[in-house]
């Protein structure tokens, strides 16, 4: 990314900056427009901190009408817009552009409705993920997707990124838990997709909006489904001498018809870093550590713990602890949850990757990573959402050593290429953003990418919303729209016909 090319700033927009700022102040009066460089500094980066850029101006609207007017204003004048929630994206999805309005949705921070009989919550997009659970937990309910940034990340951002979390193997991603949204298109039109009912009446635009990384529209309201909290949860902490055995144990648990609430794996470097940091009591003589959490009624959890313990033993586990109290369950998780900061202690910087692989390829991918680690001379620690094959390799480097960031990024790109090669994908939950943008051709042909851009063209034909993200190269919609018809011959002599 050090060589990341962003869209060239538009001179006309840059020249008109003062006029645009003044117009924004008319649309969003009061404190909602920030244009001083030192005040905009807080918005120059998101969770991918290696990249920084001051925007043209920061606008914090408070009403849907303001969002609509800002977008229409920018659309009419060919001004780019970058939407932003809490700014926790790990892929640079909210990275500002020099010539773009940064549209920050954090003042949309109210819960609009809670309906327990129908188990839905309607929230403004700036409400945090955890804020939804907090609003309903007194009645014993919660919102299931739980990305690790849940204390800070916004529900609108969750929709943009289709966020997952530790529990998504059993309870699904954002896409499976959102029932409806209200959104504003780049031309200022306000549309509603879904609502408090299920499924779409036509094309599933809610499905395509979820995970669209802020390129299709700005979400102004979200309706989610909430669930009753499981009666109880217990966890097993299982150590294996090899990652192969750990991987086989995961496959056998699922083969036995068990879908755990959470199933996480760590490799030796991650185990050691976490143990040194939080002293969770992790075994240090194992190559793979598995945390399996089972939730539900006590009788079910007890039954399944017996089954999982037997499966672990059959696969050669050398340690297997079962949580006997809520405190012990939390201690099993303490190390896993602190894995990132723990790695931060053993290395000045780390770079978190997010590929997904078919689970059975884990040993091959781990072996490949060890080779790459030697080739680049950089360490790597692995945490892994084992149930669904989502890997988070943490590459250790020092940004103060010239060239190490570049090396870390090349290493990361090679890991993602390996993931694609074994049948996996570039990103499981962090998004493409700017980070993996230029790797998209590893997974998609130009024709595949053209189709995704066609979706973009239907929503934002002038490519004004969050440009420079997701697509390595944006093709003009007029060019994509041309039909290429090959002669009109009859190219089907070998097709059976009746």
């Amino acid at each position: 990314m050090s060589g990341l090319a962003m869209p060239k700033p538009d001179d006309a927009t840059m020249r008109r900056r003062d006029e645009i700022v003044a117009d924004m102040r008319i649309i969003v009066p009061g404190e909602g427009v920030v244009d001083a460089a030192n005040s905009m500094r807080a918005f120059e980066s998101d969770g991918l901190t290696a990249y920084r850029q001051l925007p043209l101006v920061v606008v914090l609207p408070q009403t849907v009408a303001q969002v609509s007017r800002v977008l229409k204003y920018c659309n009419d004048r060919n001004i780019r817009v970058v939407p932003r929630g809490s700014g926790t994206s790990l892929s640079g999805g909210a990275l500002p552009l020099e010539d773009a309005v940064l549209l920050v949705m954090s003042r949309f921070n109210r819960i609009l409705g809670i309906d327990f009989p129908n188990r839905i919550v309607v929230a403004q997009p700036g409400v945090t993920n955890l804020g939804i659970t907090t609003a309903v937990e007194q009645e014993g309910f919660y919102y299931a997707p739980d990305p690790s940034s849940q204390i800070a990340c916004s529900i609108g951002g969750n929709v943009a990124e289709n966020s997952g979390g530790v529990h998504c193997l059993k309870y699904g991603l954002t896409a499976n838990n959102v029932l409806g949204i209200e959104m504003v298109l780049m031309n200022g039109e306000v549309v509603r997709l879904g609502g408090s009912h299920l499924d779409a009446e036509g094309y599933d635009l809610l499905g395509v909006m979820t995970g669209s990384e802020g390129l299709l529209g700005v979400v102004t309201e979200v309706t989610v489904r909430i669930l009753k909290k499981p009666e109880t949860a217990r966890a097993l902490l299982i150590g294996f001498p090899t990652s192969e055995q750990g991987g086989q144990c995961v496959a056998d648990i699922i083969g036995a018809g068990i879908i755990p609430g959470g199933m996480e794996m760590m490799d030796r470097p991650a185990i050691h870093a976490a143990e040194d940091f939080v002293h969770a009591g992790y075994p240090l003589d194992v190559e793979a550590l598995l945390i399996v959490e089972l939730d539900g009624p006590g009788v079910e959890v007890d039954h399944l713990i017996g089954l999982v313990e037997a499966i672990a033993y059959k696969n050669g586990s050398t340690t297997c602890r079962i949580s006997q109290s809520e405190q012990e369950r939390l201690s099993f998780w303490a190390g896993r949850k602190a894995a990132f900061p723990a790695v931060g202690r053993i290395s000045p910087d780390y770079y978190c990757m997010d590929g997904t692989i078919p689970r059975k390829e884990l040993p091959r991918v781990l072996a490949g990573m060890r080779e790459l680690s030697e080739k680049y001379g950089l360490g790597v620690a692995n945490v892994f959402h084992a149930g669904d094959g989502n890997l988070h390799p943490l590459i250790l480097y020092d940004a103060n050593v010239p060239g190490e960031l570049d090396k870390a990024e090349s290493f990361g790109a090679d890991i993602l290429r390996l993931c694609v090669k074994v049948g996996g994908v570039l990103t499981g939950e962090h998004g493409v953003g700017v980070e993996k943008r230029d790797l998209m051709p590893e997974m998609f042909t130009q024709i595949d990418l053209d189709q995704q851009m066609r979706v973009k063209c239907a929503f934002d034909p002038n490519h004004l919303l969050n440009p420079g993200k997701v697509f390595p190269q944006l093709r003009r919609c007029a060019e994509l729209g041309r039909m290429h018809i090959s002669g009109g011959k009859l190219p089907f002599p070998d097709i059976p016909r009746f």
Partner: protein, 401 residues
Amino acid sequence: MTTFTPTTSAEVLSSVAWAVAEGSPLEILGHGSKRGIGRPLQTQHTLDLSKLSGVTLYEPAELVLSAKAGTPLAEIEKLLAENGQQLAFEPMDYGPLLGGEPGKGTIGGVLAANLSGPRRLKAGAARDHVLGINVVSGRGEAFKSGGRVVKNVTGYDMSKLMANSWGTLAVFTDVTFKVLPAAETEVTLAIRGLLDDAAAAAMALALGSSAEVSSAAHLPERIAARVASGSLGSEAATLLRVEGFGPSVAYRIAALKTLLGNAGPLQEIAGEASSLIWRDVRDCRPFADNSEKPVWRVSMTPGQCHQMVLTLRMQAAVSAFYDWQGGLVWLRMEEGDPEAALLRGLLRKHGGGHATLVRAAPSHRAAVPVFEPQPPALAALAARLKQEFDPKHILNPGRMA
């Protein structure tokens, strides 16, 4: 009048490319089990995908299955059952309702119609389980989206865009689905004799508990007799399904009995008897009467269903039953008129949603919008998407109009 019967995705591509070049629309067909849904088509040519068939990848431990689009659903369900797995979204079979044979339909059709069943409440629909697709667009371009892993946010989720597109954006050639373990045990708790409003309250209570109810339906008096060969009798039945491991199911059924003890007489139905009931609820068997009386499938806010139906009854003769805690209402219009404007007006007044005219005579389907009309801005957006993927209106033209 030509019927193309491709056996490979390359042949699908050349068929569509030919149709594009000729400007000659195609009807896209699997087994034709849902052919009676949507505005009747008048295309000269047909693209029959029933010979594009076969499971191409099935790895039970990875919970993934890929198949060519024309693979019979029945073949896939049999293969999964042999491995103790299933499509958890429980795709319904429209055959009985539409006067066709039961057990037909292809996996491509499952996705094109975004099918689901009573477990929709807990497990989602086809859209929630599709992982990847290979398709040919109405431009004659073959492309892929998604992959074979569950967690994937690489690029737009085109699989969901194509779900419920009824063959109007692209032709599926291959689809990949997430599969899940089938439940070891299933028990249904039936509350007998409730009126619609009391049933709605009981279902909300059950779903708001931690009993993890996977399906909740209400069959009013007389409708109840039309499932599972009459085994329920004709008294109204409010049905709550609990699935999972034996000890857990027993515990949760007991908890529900305590919770609902005062709601009405309770009856426990286990195993095969339970699954037969849910199969018939899923397939809308109570209205499978070999008639052309209009049948609506209405998706709405669960808690408002009985009020909407009550108001509708004051102005039209209807039979109704409820699935998804009332979020899915099946309606049969007893006097033969679909009453589309009346129904859709009431739906808007009761929290919104969508009503699809899934069964009606061709004349009604030509005159009444089968799918819920969208507000102008949304309709324009959908039309722009259609323009992007099928600008010459080659694929199932007018079916969703």
